[in-house]
Symmetry: C2
């Protein structure tokens, strides 16, 4: 894969403690929705493929809650494949032989972009819970800095699932002239009360962990609120899977013998969830989790436009591809239909596909050929229309 | 209300630290499914109404996970109304003017029946996590001791929702000659992988709390794993409500001003959930929560009968009333249909009603006139048939 060269205006930062992320620094920073000004802002990112001479083949991919910029290559902390290698790569739906693919760690994240784990200017310690509240729109404004820094005036497409889809919608609503095509996938124009409630359980679990220390766990080297963050991950993970997917994976199988004891995790599903929780804490920062889930919970695109979702897209010339999955109960199809109705009301160019899948919300990350064909076709069509 | 007199064979125990529960003691105790013998066994219970001369009007109500024996009167710890006063009382569907209603705290519970909070014989301390694993069938065997102790050879009906419904099914399968009618409500013949997973989150949250101390929090007076138990209650509470019920109650309303901060619980739904969590810890024991959720997770009536659910009811003469609620996603209607199909296969007398409600699993506890009419009618019909 080819990486974009770093124009002179951005300095490459010193390595973080763990991994040297590719970063761009924006000294003037950003005015946030909460009123604070964050400066400087660092953006950690990766690119794949080559930007064409017309600079018309750039595809920005926005990651979900616990994703990162390592879209289509080995994640350097975990050593595992990139989170969307099913979709992004040579000859794949987001074809790195044809498109210049950009992915950056979100504002508030913990893989190199400015966030609670990074140093608070002048304080000689991480931001921790002093990090200001950020919104999905703040994340998108940060991505816009990077896109402009890469010399791109208009993106061929912005693509993302789940919280990534929220960013896609915010891009299309806030910077429509920069978005030729938009693919919000397995997402919604706002978080439901149930989604907020599940997030709140996760946050309460983190804050209940005495090792969280009011957010100041960084004061003791190596200390993290591992148990609380693990519980947060466990509950979230359930919401990513359908009942069918859980049953198929584990059913009610007991792990080992039929021992009747409540101190051991004897069901396979328990063992799996506890494993999910414990591996997660090695790669994700608890204060980032608080920051980003809160951003998702605040997201309400209709509220940003006087309560009228269609007003977010009025006059748009962006082409939309909306996709949902039948067994996704975190972002059910009905949420996508609401979105499509608003886009129709705004006279937008929109196609909608509901994919039959029993894999739940996670389906957007997995092997779903019908979805891949539809998304790939949409991007090819958009590229042809743009002459990219 | 009238209480049943305590026959001489049962001694009334000394008050617990907090509340003097009405109890019966069974010195010979019980052989449990796990192989252990638990002796003595104390059963805390309440009765309402009067047992008729023929002893043919007794209705046993089985409570759910966090319920107790205070069915139709003020709960002495919380001072709140009994948990099923909507259903049980004079002139109500479970009519205490007509029936002699019995409700006992489940084995492993924390309202006076033998469980982790009660004293471990000879140890001078609570059982804590030394309390043996119990099953739904063990709970039912314990109730049978009480029913026989009250001089009742056959129950007019056994009624219960959620985990109470599991007990109803186990009663009908294990002691069919003692059950003239059975009403399993909003329940299933086994816990699904998703239900087990949610329970596991709750258990992990309790065990993650350092105040749990490996189950030995009782060693320090007044100490309880309040934060962990609170998180467990929060996640469970979400599963008891439908998305519609959550939205109707709270929508996305912010509490107070539109402050953008992630340290405060600014959404009303968060505030509500945190309140639910914190009040729960005052009345419920964490080790009981571990014990009882595990019993629910183990429950698998088909597995107890060679994998054939209908075999659990073969030859039964019990009359069944199965009820589910449309928006219940913890025990969806499909689970009740599975149950009804098995009962039909066993040639049982069964009626089934799916109640249209948007209140989620909790609907069985709430004002649902159609459900109340159906349940009341079923019991009246059963009483008439029995000549009670």
């Amino acid at each position: 894969m080819n990486q974009a060269s770093n124009p002179a205006s951005a300095s490459v930062l010193a390595p973080t403690a763990e991994v040297e992320h590719q970063r761009a620094r924006f000294p003037d920073g950003l005015a946030l929705d909460c009123g604070a000004v964050l400066a400087p802002v660092d953006v950690a990112y990766r690119t794949y493929g080559t930007l064409n001479a017309a600079r018309s083949n750039a595809v920005l991919v926005c990651h979900a809650l616990t994703g990162d910029q390592y879209l289509a290559e080995t994640q350097p902390v975990t050593g595992k494949p990139g989170w969307w290698e099913a979709i992004v790569g040579p000859g794949k739906p987001i074809d790195t032989d044809r498109y210049f693919v950009i992915c950056s760690n979100v504002l508030g994240g913990c893989m190199g972009t400015t966030g609670p784990r990074e140093e608070m200017p002048g304080e000689g310690r991480p931001w921790g819970t002093d990090f200001p509240s950020v919104t999905i729109r703040d994340m998108v404004r940060t991505q816009k800095l990077l896109v402009e820094h890469l010399g791109i005036a208009r993106l061929l497409a912005v693509v993302g699932g789940s919280m990534g889809g929220m960013q896609v919608l915010e891009w299309a609503a806030t910077f429509p002239e920069m978005v030729f095509a938009a693919a919000p996938i397995a997402t919604a124009a706002h978080h439901s009360a149930q989604n907020i409630a599940f997030d709140e359980v996760g946050r309460a679990a983190i804050q209940a962990d005495p090792d969280w220390r009011g957010g100041r766990y960084f004061a003791e080297p190596g200390l993290v609120p591992a148990k609380g963050l693990s519980v947060a991950r466990m509950v979230a993970h359930i919401t990513y899977l359908s009942e069918q997917a859980l049953t198929r994976k584990f059913g009610r199988r007991l792990r080992g013998a039929s021992a009747l004891t409540f101190l051991e995790d004897v069901f396979e599903v328990e063992s799996y969830l506890r494993h999910q929780g414990s591996t997660f804490v090695r790669r994700f920062d608890a204060n980032s989790y608080l920051t980003i889930t809160r951003a998702m919970d605040y997201f309400d695109l209709a509220a940003e436009h006087g309560g009228d979702l269609s007003a977010a897209f009025r006059g748009t010339s962006t082409r939309f591809f909306v996709a949902s999955f039948t067994s996704d109960w975190l972002f059910p199809t009905e949420e996508s239909r609401t979105l499509v109705r608003a886009l129709n009301q705004a006279a937008a160019n929109v196609s909608f596909v509901e994919i039959t899948s029993d894999k739940g919300h996670d389906a957007f990350l997995l092997h779903e050929p019908e979805f891949h064909a539809a998304l790939g076709g949409f991007l090819k069509g958009a590229a042809a229309k743009l002459g990219a």
